[in-house]
């Protein structure tokens, strides 16, 4: 035993997984913009989670005697046309944005991954049918597709999440299909087949885990797109139903008071931009840290 302890080559060698983790951390935090994005993201997520604790007022409480107030110690960002506290609405709006982003992405990633997995794994007519549907959905601009679906279902939080989720399925299906088709030819899948693994086992144990890195990158980047699209829908009046606070609707509400109080539109728009920027930067950082070969493809 003592001899083993004295052999530094063996003992000081860190496990490969630890080394990989360290490399990931080093690459991820090596770019200033990525760190900045990460900080913004943490602030955004914490604000969304602890919103009710930090918001100074109820976001829907109206005070018609104090409408369109300028920023003051009482209302740090002023009040809107109904006398509601802008800061509180901004904080609650973060909750809505995060919820829409995460749930829409959950729907898109789940359905897209299954469809892509099927199309890539089984090929032939399964691939042809799934990919034609994907092509069809892709020929629509995402915002227009989400608009049509949201119009079809009627606005509201739940329907917006479904609309955006469906509108983003094609990106996942296409990425997953491409990944599966290349992974299918790999040695370990061949090895799995040769020892008699079932198709299900190969898909779940060999192919799926190996396609996670690019998928994680796409999910991170697409949450930003989902938040941006939700804001667009709410701006058009097809998104989250008032009076629930939504950043897009806040920009639209403020537009009418542009001359007297430009902050009302400026602040929520800036919040949308910073959050989308944060998700994109973190996505960029994850891509570089997980697999630099993905540069230019995602």
């Amino acid at each position: 035993m003592s001899q083993v302890k004295n052999t530094p080559e063996i003992n000081e060698q860190p496990a490969p997984r630890v080394q990989e983790w360290r490399r990931f951390i080093r690459v991820f935090f090596s770019r200033g913009l990525v760190v900045f994005g990460m900080v913004l993201l943490v602030i955004f997520v914490l604000t969304a989670i602890f919103g009710p604790l930090i918001a100074p007022y109820n976001p829907n409480t109206q005070n018609l005697k104090n409408t369109l107030a300028k920023p003051s110690s009482e209302h740090l960002l002023g009040t809107d046309f109904m006398g509601r506290d802008t800061l509180s609405r901004l904080i609650y709006g973060a909750r809505m944005s995060l919820m829409v982003g995460v749930v829409a992405l959950g729907i898109a990633a789940l359905i897209g991954m299954v469809a892509g997995l099927m199309a890539g794994f089984y090929g032939s007519w399964v691939n042809a049918i799934i990919m034609r549907v994907v092509d069809t959905l892709m020929s629509f601009p995402m915002i227009l597709l989400a608009l049509l679906i949201a119009g079809l279902l009627g606005g509201g939080l739940q329907n917006v999440m479904i609309a955006l989720g469906v509108a983003m399925i094609p990106a996942y299906a296409r990425l997953m299909c491409g990944l599966v088709m290349s992974l299918k030819e790999s040695d370990y899948v061949l090895a799995g087949k040769s020892i008699g693994s079932s198709e299900w086992r190969i898909m779940m144990r060999n192919i799926l885990p190996n396609s996670f890195p690019p998928l994680i990158v796409l999910v991170t980047m697409q949450i930003g797109s989902a938040i941006l699209a939700e804001a667009g829908l709410s701006y058009l009046g097809i998104g989250i139903t008032p009076p629930t606070p939504s950043w897009g609707a806040m920009v639209n509400d403020g537009f009418r008071y542009m001359i007297t109080n430009p902050l009302l539109s400026f602040i929520p728009g800036l919040a949308i931009m910073l959050v989308v920027f944060a998700f994109n930067m973190v996505g960029d950082g994850l891509r570089d840290a997980l697999d630099p070969r993905l540069r230019g493809t995602i």
Partner: protein, 318 residues
């Protein structure tokens, strides 16, 4: 090559047909009966069920969906997109007025997005690591994240309200008053072009950096060629493929973006019409607009695919 073109054409037609079916069925599953939209609440109260059925029959909404679809697609092939359920006016007439407006806006935005974005990306790649590169990369990162409708509002505030340099909103045809038309177009075009500018710059930069690492570029340098020859003749054409793909895909973004921007700037184009008719459940309009938008996008994708061969002779169409 010809076989490839024919196959891609057939694929494109299938996509367009699938879109029309999806929209046609989708619109009819919308909650709310368009007949109710035609009537004010007073009229609605006085109407009997039979009278409502008669109205529905007149609008052709009582027949099976498949019959309605085939009749519509048959008419489309003859150049008739149907009549508005609300106003009874032919959809083609209204679209003929709206399409040039959106096309004007979209084409200018596309040209601006390509002409500014690609050179910015290339310059940034050539001058990698300099302040110019940092500036372009940062601006491009901001450009792909900015909500365009918000940018529009901020521009209106700054240039139309605060500085009073540009008209607030609206649209004037360039054939009526070219100068006013251009002034009115500046802000919406910038908003529509900001994403393509940023995305093209990013793609052009990474694509150019990739090419600049290739052996043949090193050879060109070692031959003593000037920078203009190395970049212009050897690097540029080879870096164009991914750029062209992205620029082509940008058309889809511009078509989608026009929906929001026309709303912000009160421009009477197709995007605005799409929103209005979606809210009013005016089926025929939504179908007509989505058909035209899909054809534009599918055609641009086709042109992008076919341009690969010209840009890179190694690409063979199989």
């Amino acid at each position: 090559m010809l076989t490839y073109i024919v196959r891609r054409l057939i694929q494109s037609v299938i996509v367009v047909i699938l879109v029309t079916i999806l929209v046609f069925v989708g619109m009819r599953l919308l909650p709310g009966d368009p007949i109710y939209m035609l009537l004010n609440p007073n009229q609605l109260q006085n109407m009997t069920a039979e009278e409502l059925d008669k109205l529905r029959q007149e609008a052709g909404l009582d027949r099976p969906m498949a019959v309605q679809y085939f009749e519509w697609i048959g008419n489309v092939l003859r150049g008739d997109l149907g009549r508005s359920i609300m106003t009874k006016s032919p959809v083609v007439d209204d679209l003929a007025k709206r399409i040039p407006v959106t096309a004007h806006l979209g084409i200018v935005a596309f040209i601006v997005g390509t002409m500014i974005g690609i050179p910015l990306g290339i310059i940034s790649a050539i001058r990698r690591g300099t302040w110019l590169d940092t500036l372009v990369t940062t601006m491009a990162n901001i450009g792909i994240t900015v909500p365009t409708f918000w940018l529009g509002i901020m521009l209106i505030w700054l240039f139309a309200i605060y500085l009073n340099w540009l008209p607030v909103m609206g649209y004037t045809s360039p054939f009526v008053d070219f100068w006013l038309s251009t002034k009115r177009l500046i802000m919406p075009v910038f908003c529509l072009a900001i994403f393509p500018i940023a995305a093209n710059a990013r793609q052009a930069r990474s694509s150019m950096l990739e090419i600049l690492r290739q052996d043949y570029i090193r050879t060109a340098w070692s031959k003593g060629l000037r920078e203009r020859a190395v970049i212009g003749r050897h690097a540029l054409k080879n870096s164009l493929i991914p750029i062209v793909t992205l620029a082509g895909m940008g058309i889809s973004g511009i078509v989608g973006g026009s929906v929001l921007i026309e709303q912000v700037f009160n421009i009477p184009g197709m995007g605005r019409l799409a929103i209005d008719s979606l809210f009013q459940h005016d089926y025929t309009y939504v179908q007509g607009i989505t058909l035209i938008m899909t054809i534009v996008i599918v055609t641009s994708n086709l042109v992008v695919d076919l341009s690969y061969g010209w840009l890179d002779p190694r690409v063979r169409y199989n």
